[in-house]
């Protein structure tokens, strides 16, 4: 394990911004080559080691990594099965992966699936990852909004934090 302080300092550094009414964007930097991050995202044995929660028991972890191929993750969380699945739409290893993501816990998951656009930009062995999640429609957005997960602020999180902290009174 590297003892480079940069490595240990990256924990908790993912940033969420909300670029539009129907999207959110996750940004995170890793001290690893893009190829390795891509591999960790698309290899079942590796996905099982990070994707769920510490307490997740894996039931299904299927990845058919080709355009039109499907993926499905199901984990057991206490007495509840939590499942997601989708289809790969674009694969440009190791820099870009576009896939759908349907949450199986809602009615008609596929009609309400999100589109996830993963990009990996490597500079000198350090990779900046972005995941842009596009919700499918105003209606789906409203479902999310009604459940208390507002997705509509254009003010970026960082800006919002300044506003809240500063009070701007």
């Amino acid at each position: 394990m590297s003892n480079d302080p940069a490595t240990t300092n990256r924990h908790g550094s993912a940033v969420i911004t909300l670029p539009s009414d129907t999207e959110y964007l996750v940004t995170r930097v890793f001290d690893a080559p893009a190829e390795l991050v891509f591999k960790a995202y698309t290899t079942p044995e590796l996905v099982k080691r990070w994707w769920g929660f510490e307490t997740s028991e894996w039931l299904v972890c299927d990845i058919d990594l080709r355009v039109g191929g499907e993926w499905r993750f199901v984990v057991q969380e206490r007495d509840m099965e939590v499942g997601f699945h989708g289809e790969y739409r674009e694969i440009e290893r190791p820099h870009r992966l576009v896939s759908t993501e349907a949450y199986e816990g809602i009615p008609d998951p596929d009609a309400n699936a999100a589109l996830n656009i993963l990009t990996l930009d490597e500079r000198d062995g350090v990779t900046t990852m972005t995941v842009l999640v596009q919700m499918p429609s105003q209606e789906a957005r409203d479902e999310v909004l009604a459940s208390g997960m507002e997705g509509g602020m254009q003010v970026s999180y960082n800006r919002l934090e300044d506003l809240v902290a500063g009070g701007l009174g």
């Binding site: 940033v15 969420i16 690893a32 390795l36 409203d142 909004l145 509509g152 254009q154 506003l163 009070g167």
Partner: protein
């Protein structure tokens, strides 16, 4: 689906694009209705209507100075939204910190072999 009125819920109050533009604009400092109309290219009645909604949920405050009414942002009223983003961000951080640890382990394994 039951929705709370725009005038009682900060989430719904800022769920409208024009009102978010006003929030963004007021983030730069106090402004009059006229300044917001100029900057955002909306009509005065629209601007006044949106400001009224934002005032009703406390996101915007106003004061009168001579002939002008100045509007400003009340940051703490946005806290529920801020808190939601933070909660969501924490969930992602938990997952990505695990990925971070895994990548470190994999690189360590590669160095060993």
């Amino acid at each position: 689906m039951a929705r709370t009125a725009t005038t009682t819920d900060v989430f719904n109050a800022v769920a409208e694009a024009s009102r978010r533009h006003i929030v963004d604009a007021l983030g730069d400092g106090e402004a009059t209705v006229g300044e917001l109309v100029d900057r955002l290219q909306i009509s005065q009645p629209q601007a006044s209507k949106h400001l009224a909604v934002l005032k009703a949920v406390g996101v915007v405050l106003s004061r009168v100075d001579g002939r002008h009414r100045w509007y400003r942002l009340n940051g703490p009223a946005l806290k529920p939204i801020h808190d939601w983003v933070r909660t969501f961000e924490r969930t992602w951080n938990t997952r990505l910190d695990r990925l971070d640890d895994l990548l470190a382990e994999l690189q360590h394994e590669e160095e060993q072999s």
